[in-house]
């Protein structure tokens, strides 16, 4: 139970998170409640094992990649701000945000940032391109033992062939965006939060 959890989150922090992520006040307190219930060690941060305790996530073939997205390079604990920042990518894009001031920085849940999030899940070594090896590894995670190496290899080859435009046998972020330009990213990479 949350018990006194929400009193540990100060109003100023809630305001800052609101500005950074766009979540509403009540959403932030609810998510804080969730954060503390996952934090079994009660030290204000989540480790990888805290996420793996969620059974539905543990059986997700890409569960490990999703968990990894919460942890910045080299770290293995995430605090509430980092947690919210990652979740913010999945906030739906509201109409009034589309007409915002173009000089303001890109909100975390814009189409570009959602695509960047997905790109980083493929890009295992964070070198800004998806190599054939990386694609194979992610594919292997998704299909398990059910598809042979050769077939998986040819699927990877074909995917890179379709996306690659500059002939370097890997997919850069711009090529990634081009391939997915017809996909309704706004809807497919968003969660409908209530309240």
């Amino acid at each position: 139970m949350g018990s006194r959890a929400s009193s540990l989150l100060r109003e100023e922090e809630i305001e800052e998170i609101k500005k950074e992520t766009g979540f509403s006040h009540s959403q932030i307190t609810r998510l804080y409640s969730r954060f503390t219930s996952l934090d079994k060690g009660e030290n204000g941060t989540l480790g990888r094992e805290d996420f793996q305790r969620i059974p539905e996530l543990a059986i997700n073939p890409l569960g490990d990649r999703i968990i990894n997205a919460f942890f910045p390079e080299g770290e293995d604990q995430v605090n509430f701000r980092g947690f919210m920042r990652t979740l913010a990518h999945f906030r739906p894009i509201e109409d009034n945000e589309k007409n915002k001031d173009p000089t303001a920085s890109e909100p975390l849940n814009s189409r570009i940032n959602k695509l960047l999030f997905a790109f980083q899940l493929y890009d295992l070594d964070r070198d800004d391109k998806i190599s054939r090896d990386e694609l194979l590894q992610v594919l292997r995670m998704m299909v398990g033992v059910n598809i042979s190496d050769e077939q998986l290899g040819s699927i990877a080859d074909r995917t890179i062939q379709e996306a690659d435009q500059n002939g370097d046998n890997s997919i850069s972020f711009n090529e990634f965006i081009k391939v997915l330009e017809k996909v309704d990213v706004e809807q497919k990479m968003s969660i409908r939060f209530l309240h």
């Binding site: 018990s3 539905e56 497919k188």
Partner: protein, 448 residues
């Protein structure tokens, strides 16, 4: 000085006489003096008043309480196939090789993030959150000063619960348990006449009634005509050790479990003297055949009491029913399902064994307002032709869930402590693979 002690002694005598007359005698003979009913009525009125006060103050201050009762996310209940088909609509299907697109992963990412925000399983292992505060500190999610009157009522409540009710309850519980040990041991010395079993049942029920008063339990039994009979197996959803007290107030059951040492061991051995229970050594519990054999022997002997089993294997927070272990459904006896639903307004009965040990749990029970619950006896069920134990177990589980208004989950209650088995992830991978390369039948159909 002596006058003072004489007064104290006299006071104690009066106190004990009151306890015996007002609580123990009705418990022994099964009638009620209406004291607890009056207490409950007053309590309900006070809680309603408190809820109203909190709501009016919240409205006045325009505090938008995020209702933790509802979900945080609205999910698309589409299957993997539907979702992936939707994702792939924007490109033509490739002729051969494998149907994969870079956007396939969106489905898994979204599901994963939804599960991080809110999942069906981990919430079952902690106490349910209440819709409105019930004047107990432990359920207060957002401490906020509402009004002086409310704080005073809360303070009065604390005083009554801790200083008046708790000592009374502790005394009753100890009397109940001591009497159980003495009574069952005494009955155990009698030879095996019919009188022995009748006496044994009476002693058991009486002691459980005293224990129930010791927790201020108010139990409503429904459909008593379906009560479990001898030679059957009674299965129920599990929320706390108090479930046993609740069920045994209205009938006698044979218990199944691990034999413990210490106080529990004394209790277990005493109970076993007056009528047969099934206690296992820790090592024997792993031997499934041995367990099944002993259960089967007990069930086949029609003079023995119905066995009480909780197939979930662990305590769940009474908002859902989790996977039933198939062991007792393979025996072949008649299954009597029972649904138990506690009213969380008066006291949270769930035992969170990770957070509280048995003693602190019992103290929490004794410092709540009361334990109120409903027990539904459901019609007997048998394993049908062509139905295996797992299907039978699921059928019984859904009947219990439906009656108790609980969510029917197939997740294993053991996930409280253990990791989920890899086989479930492999199922997901297999499902996805069939969407990439087609199922076995498609492939064999297309091969040359």
């Amino acid at each position: 000085m002596e006058d003072f002690w004489a007064m104290v002694l006299a006071g104690l005598k009066v106190w004990v006489c009151l306890i015996v007359a007002l609580l123990m005698v009705p418990a022994m003979f099964g009638f009620s003096l209406g004291i607890s009913e009056t207490y409950m009525k007053i309590l309900v009125k006070i809680l309603e008043w408190a809820t109203l006060r909190i709501q009016t103050v919240n409205k006045a201050q325009q505090i938008l309480k995020s209702s933790s009762f509802n979900s945080l996310v609205q999910r698309d209940d589409g299957s993997m196939e539907e979702e992936l088909r939707g994702l792939r609509r924007s490109r033509p299907k490739p002729p051969v090789g494998g149907d994969f697109t870079l956007s396939d992963c969106f489905y898994f990412y979204r599901r994963g993030i939804e599960d991080i925000v809110e999942d069906e399983v981990t919430q079952r292992f902690s106490s349910e959150e209440l819709v409105s505060w019930n004047l107990l500190t432990r359920t207060n999610i957002d401490f906020q000063y509402i009004s002086l009157k409310l704080t005073m009522v809360w303070g009065l409540g604390v005083f009554i619960r801790y200083c008046i009710l708790t000592p009374l309850r502790i005394m009753l519980a100890s009397i109940g348990l001591t009497w159980l040990v003495i009574g069952t041991t005494a009955v155990g010395f009698l030879p095996n006449w019919r009188l022995k079993s009748w006496l044994s049942e009476w002693v058991h029920v009486m002691c459980y009634r005293i224990c129930a008063r010791g927790l201020s339990c108010t139990i409503h039994y429904h459909n008593k005509e379906n009560r479990p009979r001898k030679g059957g197996i009674c299965v129920a959803n599990h929320t706390s050790p108090i479930d046993i007290v609740i069920l045994c107030n209205d009938g006698c059951y044979a218990m199944v479990g691990q034999s413990h040492g210490g106080l529990m061991g004394v209790l277990q051995r005493a109970m076993a003297r007056s009528c047969p229970h099934i206690w296992f050594e820790r090592a024997d519990m792993k031997d499934r055949h041995l367990v099944a054999k002993r259960l089967r022997d007990h069930v086949n002997d029609k003079t023995k009491l119905p066995i009480l089993i909780f197939p979930e294997g662990t305590c769940i927070n009474n908002t859902s029913v989790m996977m039933f272990k198939k062991g007792c459904f393979e025996i072949g006896g008649t299954i009597y399902p029972v649904a138990i639903k506690y009213d969380p307004q008066f006291g949270d009965a769930f035992w969170n064994s990770a957070k509280y040990n048995m003693v602190s749990y019992l103290l929490r029970m004794m410092t709540s307002w009361a334990i109120v619950c409903n027990v539904w006896y459901l019609p007997a069920m048998h394993q049908q032709e062509g139905e295996d134990a797992v299907q039978f177990a699921n059928r019984v589980k859904s009947v219990i869930a439906h009656q108790g208004g609980l969510v029917d989950l197939s997740w294993d209650g053991g996930l409280k402590r253990a990791k989920v088995k890899d086989i479930y992830r492999e199922e997901q991978q297999k499902k996805y693979s069939s969407m990439v390369v087609g199922s076995e039948e498609d492939r064999s159909g297309n091969s040359d």
